[in-house]
């Protein structure tokens, strides 16, 4: 598995499990993955800052991200290990954290390499591999157990942790238990599973195409000649974004993404609309086409509008008007500009769009605005009002997992060494 993928999946594990209570198998078998996941999540929020010289503020922000105060030094230590931060200490005390998180690359490569260096145990390796595999194609539960080569107890623990982290679900289709990950389901899991059942050999490749080319036009031969993708559009597995621009209406497809809160879903929808509009300019503009889509997105993020107006902008970016991302501005002489509303949500949507363009995946959709705000305005106390109230979920272990926990606890009680 590629290092970038390992880093991304580790972050998925942390994001999925951050709102769950402590649970033996999670702490014992996913320690290193969660450590790297937390490091990745924190790095994503620190990116763009120069330094943090108020450690208390950093603790506040980290807590918002599911990183406890006592584990923060360990997480920072991991980031220091890959040179994403430099820590100025005075004795045991952290005085300042200098930020070096890269901005022109995602940094998941380094995080994935660090995960490997930490030598994760078999269960967490299997967990990361399972998640990655299910992101390409659902599999029968029996097939999954067979391929992992694990004992029933280990597999049960793996499933318990992943299910409670919303990383894995099992649904019965035509009498067969099918495991899939909600992370790749946009709307209806049943439609998704039926689709994967109809095109078992084509799904993996289809999802790969969409991930690598987020915002691909439906008229592109890669899609129009692909039976599986056409079927996915017709059955609602994929939800194309529509742009009615200067040269007609076009639809743009995106890799499905699930496991989001309603607020995150809104941001993803906005990001898709933004990228679809830019893709239209890349492929279907009436005049000169967009050559550097990233530069366009960064321009909108940094300056909130285009340098100069263009006749096509009004129609090309009209989907953004409907989603309250911005509005067209008449510059006269038939030229239009587009003004982005400068809100946290819209800026986050632009970041997500850049991510989709660059790495295909959308890790920034999980950026916690309250934590980011805490880091940017260090003197401000963030009460519970702006942050979402989260109730920690308890992980309900399967009978096998509970039996294993009792076995381990009994061994400790008896002073016996197990494993």
């Amino acid at each position: 598995m590629e290092k970038v993928t390992q880093g991304l999946r580790a972050q998925d594990f942390h994001e999925g499990l951050r709102e769950t209570k402590t649970f033996g198998p999670k702490e014992a078998y996913f320690e290193k993955t969660l450590r790297i996941g937390k490091a990745a999540f924190l790095a994503m929020h620190l990116r763009g800052l120069l330094y943090v010289d108020d450690y208390t503020v950093l603790k506040f922000a980290a807590a918002q991200l599911g990183i406890g105060g006592s584990e923060l030094p360990v997480i920072l230590g991991e980031l220091e290990e890959i040179d994403f931060v430099r820590i100025k200490r005075s004795g045991d005390e952290i005085k300042r954290v200098d930020i070096r998180v890269p901005e022109f690359r995602t940094g998941y490569e380094e995080l994935g390499a660090r995960w490997e260096d930490l030598k994760p145990c078999e269960v967490e390796r299997a967990g990361v591999a399972t998640l990655q595999s299910l992101m390409h194609l659902p599999r029968s539960e029996a097939d999954l157990i067979r391929s992992l080569g694990m004992g029933q107890t280990e597999f049960s623990m793996l499933c318990d942790v992943m299910k409670d982290g919303q990383l894995l679900r099992v649904q019965t289709i035509a009498g067969q238990k099918i495991a899939y990950t909600p992370l790749v389901v946009d709307e209806d899991p049943t439609a998704y599973l039926q689709w994967t059942d109809r095109f078992p050999s084509a799904v993996s490749e289809a999802l790969k195409i969409l991930t690598e080319h987020q915002g691909l036009p439906a008229s592109d031969p890669t899609i129009s000649d692909n039976a599986a993708l056409n079927d996915a559009i017709q059955t609602g597995v994929l939800m194309p974004a529509r742009v009615n621009g200067a040269t007609g209406t076009q639809q743009f497809l995106f890799a499905p993404r699930g496991g989001l809160t309603p607020e995150e879903r809104v941001i993803l929808d906005k990001a898709r609309a933004i990228l679809a509009s830019v893709r239209y300019g890349q492929r279907f503009a009436a005049g000169r086409r967009i050559i550097h889509p990233r530069a366009i997105l960064e321009r909108l993020r940094d300056y909130k509008r285009f340098k100069t107006g263009h006749p096509d902008l009004r129609t090309q970016y009209s989907p953004l008007l409907e989603k309250f991302v911005g509005r067209p501005i008449d510059e006269g002489g038939g030229l239009w500009n587009f003004q982005i509303y400068d809100t946290d949500e819209n800026m986050k949507a632009l970041e997500v769009a850049i991510d989709m363009l660059e790495i295909g995946e959308t890790p920034t959709v999980k950026i916690d605005l309250a934590a980011k705000k805490a880091l940017l305005s260090p003197r401000e106390y963030l009460g519970p009002i702006p942050t979402r109230t989260i109730l920690a979920r308890s992980i309900t272990g399967s009978p096998e997992t509970r039996a294993e926990i009792i076995k381990q606890l009994s061994a400790i009680g008896r002073g016996m060494k197990v494993r």
Binding site: Y51, D53, F104
Partner: protein, 357 residues
Amino acid sequence: MSTEKDLSLKLRFKRVLFQMGYYSPVNVQLSQYPGSTPKKKALTDLDVLGLKFDEVLTPHRVVCDCKSGKDISDPNRLFWLRGVTDYFGANAAYFLRPRIGGHARAIAPKLGVRTIDEKELQQIETDLNVDALPLPIHDLGFHEQKQSLWGIWVPEHTKPTSEQLGLKKVYTYLSYEYWYVDQHRNLLLLVAHFQDIAHLLNPNNSRHVLLAQTGLERFVHCLLEMGNVIYARGLSDLPGNARIYLYGGPLALREKEKFFELLNKVTAANESLDPPFLNDLLELTNRIVHNPNAAVDILRTLEATYGWCVQLGNRELSPVFGGGSPVGAIVLARDAAITLAKATGIREDLFSHLLAL
């Protein structure tokens, strides 16, 4: 001919410039290597060069000629200074003399040069409260202490070793060539020079620490100059505009890309035009560009760190900056030191004083 009196004037003006936010190397020498001869040919030297970058990285450069001797034609010096001003693209030029005659005063405004005599210099020093600065920039002994560590030391009647000759190349580059070659070439040249001597530099050797420190100052200067061009071309494509600058313009960049394409085709190699450390340089430049309030003070912070911490053994920089530590500038300066060390392979602990801040 430079005298001790000249030096005193230079250092006093350097202290004034420091208070005005400038980083200011003294005795900047321009030399070139004409034709195929390896012998250096001195062109001229400048007494004080002041460099400052504002929040949008626009460079502000001042040049200064300090003369205290009697057999000097002030108008001649002024005309010369005008040429040097143009060469460095300076925004201002200063001519310092203990006394300045009426002829020179009359012609100076037409040449865009400011004249400052002893009395006026004293007034500027008072107005800028330079005595409150604890860093003894104007002290001859303090300056000499630093100068004595510059260059290789070869006992009389002995030949320099090959290692010393290697170091000498870098001294020569930093002292002379740096100010002569096209600025856009300096960043990659500087890294290449330090890569060549990385294995020789020892953090326990004071000469080596000063050499690395000077390299770091020039490195930051290169990044700030690049930042200025990136600003001019547009921030929306920082990596693209940085490459255009580093490789000498869009046309030169295309030529170089084509050259590498052909090279790889002919040799079946997979060489990239961009050196492996370029990404780190771009990331650092990005942090500099997006932290303007900190960026303006990096060069001065570096100068202060060497004088205040390395030479005088202090551990906190805040007294030099009026009690407030320039944290942002320190962070960027540390960042630059780490990036330079990574790019060149020199040891990070050559900058241990900076990294301890």
